[in-house]
């Protein structure tokens, strides 16, 4: 029961370590690093590896941005299984809608509520 908290902490931490190494060692910008992680998540799901990874690590696998790539691919594949090639387009945002929707809505609400103090 409690082991999932430990694996979530360690696995989530390790994905961030990969990101930090891409910052510091490979000298990539944050945007490049995040794009690489997203693409990695989507490729892992193509091989069917990300879902077992979520079962193993829980939020340690769903909270890092790699999970965004995974959910995009996962939605596209789920619809493609039902409707063929066209499903790749229609299913893309099916799973990940909550992340995008909440980011847009809360971002807009925040622009009403908060004033910029330099770079936020």
């Amino acid at each position: 029961m409690f082991s999932i908290y430990i694996t979530a902490f360690i696995v989530g931490g390790l994905i961030c370590v990969i990101g930090q190494l891409l910052f510091d060692v490979a000298k990539l910008t944050p945007a490049h690093t995040l794009c690489i992680l997203v693409v990695a998540g989507s490729i892992l799901d193509g091989f069917g590896l990300y879902e077992p990874f979520i079962d193993f690590a829980g939020a340690g696998a769903t909270i890092p941005i790699t999970s965004f790539g995974n959910s995009l691919t996962h939605g596209a594949l789920a619809e493609a299984e039902k409707h063929g090639i066209i499903g790749v387009l229609t299913g893309m945002f099916e799973v990940t809608s909550s992340g995008i929707t909440s980011a847009i809505l809360f971002g807009f609400i925040a622009s009403f509520l908060f004033r910029s103090k330099g770079k936020a």
Binding site: A8, A31, A59, T73
Partner: protein, 151 residues
């Protein structure tokens, strides 16, 4: 002193960015954020009708909401300065990118400023996520149709 000498001396004097320290901070920060996510997921599984897998959707939305508050009050910037990639890689970092661009550009108006810039930082992640997901899903669908692999 020529240019080469100057640059070697400069390298000797300037403090080396301690990679190990940064990596440890990123591990700690990212780990704690994921741990909080796990607790939020437990909350949705226990009190609402979600399973281990479906709980990730409301969890992500809640994390983005928390990230909005932290960004608005200027606290996420401090977490980012401490945690580096530990603050940028979790979904809260994505939320922070969207919210901070929205707040930053509100003075230019809600249509051109906020509307035009809200995805200024997060757009690259969405573009590359969608493109790679499209490529992966297309390749896999074709391979399945050809009978090379199965779903």
């Amino acid at each position: 002193m020529d240019k080469e000498q100057y640059s070697t001396i400069e390298q000797e004097i300037s403090p080396k960015p301690s990679i190990i320290k940064n990596v440890f901070k990123a591990f700690l920060t990212g780990g704690i954020i994921c741990l909080i996510g796990q607790f939020i997921a437990l909350f949705y599984i226990t009190f609402f009708d979600f399973t281990e897998r479906t709980a990730s959707n409301p969890t992500v939305a809640t994390m983005v909401f928390i990230s909005m508050l932290l960004t608005g009050f200027g606290l996420y910037k401090k977490i980012g300065q401490f945690g580096g990639a530990g603050a940028a890689v979790p979904i809260t970092g994505f939320g922070n990118a969207v919210v901070s661009s929205a707040i930053e550009h509100r003075t230019e108006g809600y249509v051109l400023g906020v509307g035009g810039n809200i995805f200024k930082l997060a757009g690259s992640v969405i573009l590359w996520g969608v493109f790679s997901a499209f490529a992966v899903a297309l390749i896999k669908t074709i391979l399945v149709k050809l009978g090379v692999v199965s779903w």
